[in-house]
Symmetry: C2
Subunit: 639 residues, 2 copies
Amino acid sequence: MSGGGDSAGRPGDAPRPSVASSVWRVLIGRPLKSSEARHGQITPLEGLPALSLDALTSVAYGPEAIVLVLGTAGVAALHLVLPITISIVVLLALLVISYRQVIDGYPHGGGAYAVARANLGNGAAQVAAASLVVDYTLTVAVSIAAGIASLTSAFPALTHATVPLCLAELALLTILNLRGLGETARAFLLPTVVFIVGLLAVIAIGMIHPLGTHLTQPGQSLTPTVDLAPVGVLLILKAFSAGCSALTGVEAIANGVPLFRPPRQARAKQTELMLGVLLGVMLLGLAVLVDKFHVGPRSGQTVLSQVMAYSVGRGWVYYIVSLSITVVLGLAANTSFGGLPVLASLLARDHYLPHAFALRGDRLVFSKGVWALGIVAAALLVVVRGNTNTLIPLFAIGVFISFTLAQTGMVVHWRSARPAHWKRKATVNGTGAVVTAIATIVFLISKFVEGAWVVVVAVPLLILLFQRIRAYYQRLSGVLAIGEVPPPPHAGRVLVVVPVNGVNRLTSYVISEALSIGDEVVAVAVTFSDESGSEAELEQQWNDWNCGVRLVTLRSQYHSVVRPILRFLDALQRQEEGFEATIVLIPVIRPTKWRHRALHNQLDLVLSAALQDRPEVSVARIPVTIDQLERASTRRGAE
Amino acid sequence: MSGGGDSAGRPGDAPRPSVASSVWRVLIGRPLKSSEARHGQITPLEGLPALSLDALTSVAYGPEAIVLVLGTAGVAALHLVLPITISIVVLLALLVISYRQVIDGYPHGGGAYAVARANLGNGAAQVAAASLVVDYTLTVAVSIAAGIASLTSAFPALTHATVPLCLAELALLTILNLRGLGETARAFLLPTVVFIVGLLAVIAIGMIHPLGTHLTQPGQSLTPTVDLAPVGVLLILKAFSAGCSALTGVEAIANGVPLFRPPRQARAKQTELMLGVLLGVMLLGLAVLVDKFHVGPRSGQTVLSQVMAYSVGRGWVYYIVSLSITVVLGLAANTSFGGLPVLASLLARDHYLPHAFALRGDRLVFSKGVWALGIVAAALLVVVRGNTNTLIPLFAIGVFISFTLAQTGMVVHWRSARPAHWKRKATVNGTGAVVTAIATIVFLISKFVEGAWVVVVAVPLLILLFQRIRAYYQRLSGVLAIGEVPPPPHAGRVLVVVPVNGVNRLTSYVISEALSIGDEVVAVAVTFSDESGSEAELEQQWNDWNCGVRLVTLRSQYHSVVRPILRFLDALQRQEEGFEATIVLIPVIRPTKWRHRALHNQLDLVLSAALQDRPEVSVARIPVTIDQLERASTRRGAE
């Protein structure tokens, strides 16, 4: 049988919302119907601000990283920037192809986790998941701190407010993502477009007809003019690995496939392709210009800033593009908000995380995952006081572990599925796996002391957590006998205990309810040993009332109502046998006006809090309004 | 019948206390038996630190206030310090005599409130109570801020931590008073004794053989050497009123009579007398020395400091006594913690404040009053940022209103009771009433613009609050028909609604309990419109189980479980008639370990929060442990 549900009414129909909940509704928007899901889901163009900013903004630090490593070996080594960038772009192409295949094969998202789970087993899947969780959390903290750092270098007066500013941006991101990723993406579209168009224009102008070639660059060159070290394989490997940090974020789209508007896979693949082309063009263009303008490491100037200045001069174009880079660096944090909640929902479905992560909130987003990411990132930002330097060495390792696992998983996939051209496909993925594995190892070794050890510790701890959680759920599932037909239900006798403190209409109301529910009813009252007389008086009133229910008065030597009642219940349960259930009914007067609540003693709250952990006893709070009491007495008077 | 209660067991026997509650126990001490009440109550000597510091420390600012007012009129006017002090001490004597009579007549405490209520009616009693509440709250804030201000002038590095220091001291006072006033008094006894003995010694030495008469005082004299203004009645009245600030706190003992160890009245009267004698001797002694040493207002030096320096020189005695004054000024806040909670308990018994204020906590103190005072004073300290200057003009007015009402009330008392010598007694109190009334009016007029208007606004607002609260309790009492024999209880039919999300042993357990309780049971499940299949599957499982209870599945267009259930209950209540009660049973799995709670969805909390304001529906959360589920299924299997 299928009942009415809420199909008829308006969503805003909930009973008297509080001020706080109204404010909250304005912030995150009205609840959405499942059929409105399209509204909350994204198009390929929106996919760029929503899921690709982490990757795209890496043009701000990827080329820089290569130049810095090579610069240590002297001017001659800088000619290697272009070949190394070309090989990174080749790797990018491998990854984009591979993740487009992942999107096709694993439409529920999860990326490396889903691939590893299907092809490499639970162990590898957990490694992939833990690595991604660590990396996504770091991405949020690092991106926000980087964005705010460029804000405070522009306005030094704000420096002392770094942490509050970081937290404010994080709060904004969290709220936007609780509204839904679609709205977030739309809000971020403008700066993203300015950034992409601006940087492509800078590259084009630099290639064709640079405007600022005769510009004197501020700062001092940091490159030794003589060759200090031989350009060996190790240096090239280090420069390559450093430049690979430009590839983080390429996996986010495959993780977040369910966020796209149907047809999901097609749209996600379009976004992945756009991301790959844009990022590849930008990286190659910048490398060509670095070579053309003989750009090297320079004090107080980034490589990107030097290239831009040579291309278009230090005019308004330079400043607008710089500003847009600053803005999108901050917004890159959003990539994690796109990827992590979906990944967490998959982990929750596989019983590796609390099931609550798999529940959609009333805006249809995985709100628990958004909340968790916001809270953990806030804690990280507070601990490192908004300073990214401690976090950057930890960054990117997680993604490269997941890259390696995803590629390896795809190789296994092709070997077992054997579609047409499977050997070619497997070779592509195999190459990717080897290259990303090398990059991972170089990362880990070169940054181990600086902080990469944290990842080496955190990933196994997360895996341990996943396993403990899964073990609990398995035990629970066994106890609940899920999947079996449970024993038939079985009605039994019920004992009801009613705490009372006087004889009045409320007592009458709640004793009526107790008699309706229970097979046996006991009223219980607590009196204090220093208030003599109150006990005798209460018993007298009770006897006068003569309601047929026995009253037990507990004389307490302490001024505590809760403890004697707990003891009484203990004693009762030892004495009385044969009851299916013991229920404590606590009457709660509900005043019509909120402010009148303070005038009631709230003993019900104290008592139900004290009782809630007694598994042998159920607690029912019986809310009674003043109107009800009046009506109840009239009704019964008329009978 | 009278049951076991807790007489047998130890108080610490409560089930698994949390870490927070253990820490709390260490802070405020174990619960006390009512028979241990003596332990928490105070002797006359302890009455000085507990209830008299506000009055005693006024020697630090009372004489100062007189000298400052007279100093404006030139050197000659300073000779009036002694006669004005004598008249203040006469008023002090009147007040002490009067309050000793109040203690005799009103042994439950409350002071001016009790006197006014008995003799002048409810209106005057509310004025007295509101004035005292305002003044006690200000006393806490002013005393703490003054104590911390002298600390930060000694250690200027602490100045930026003024507000945290104030709040820390307030927290300490609050915790000590939650432990019980007796322990607080013992903790404060040493500085109080040092202060009293030290200052008396300073006065004695100054009288007999001053050691520092040839000392050069730092700072500049602020007294004009020519007579600037004629010494008129108005100036004398202003100086007198200003000096009267030394009398605040004299009423606290009468307010706090129940805090004394029996025989209460005798002990309270002893303390009142000790306070009167000590304060009188100190004030007179200081006035004589001011006259003798020709002390006038001086920049950067208090009058008390000058007198002390002339008497004993600037040696270690000077510094020890100065330090003790600093310490006890801060502790003077404790006077309010002694007086206000008792006053609030009386107001609560008379239905002017929430009844919770009349409940003793498990340390036998009126803990709600202590909490309320701590919280309001903390808010005040934060608002004024630990700076007393904004609060001092508001201070003392409330006490003088209550003085006037108490004295007037005593006159009425003597006129109606007419004991021996009633005319003399009435004359004493009548004189006191007139003098304190004049002081009140001078206070109000001279400080109105500086802030006394706040009191003029706050007192009527408090009275309005008292009346609104009383009106609510009166309505409630009418509705509950307290004092009447209520209608007989009446068993009826019960409808039980059980939210389910699957068919398993937990379902079986809770349906069993529902069948035991209710006359009709409905199971209800929510499915989401975008998860097709789950509904049919659930219904299939339910039918396979065939438990005899009907299942209603609610298809929700929104991702919210709560809203469909609320709507279902609304619809149900319109359809179904003739039920005495509707109960929603919410099963809650209680894991053995706390940390496992995060693994459950906590939907029970959300649902019971949403339902708690529906008066037509009672909510019972059924806690079920994993052990119980295992046992329940075994037991039933065996039957």
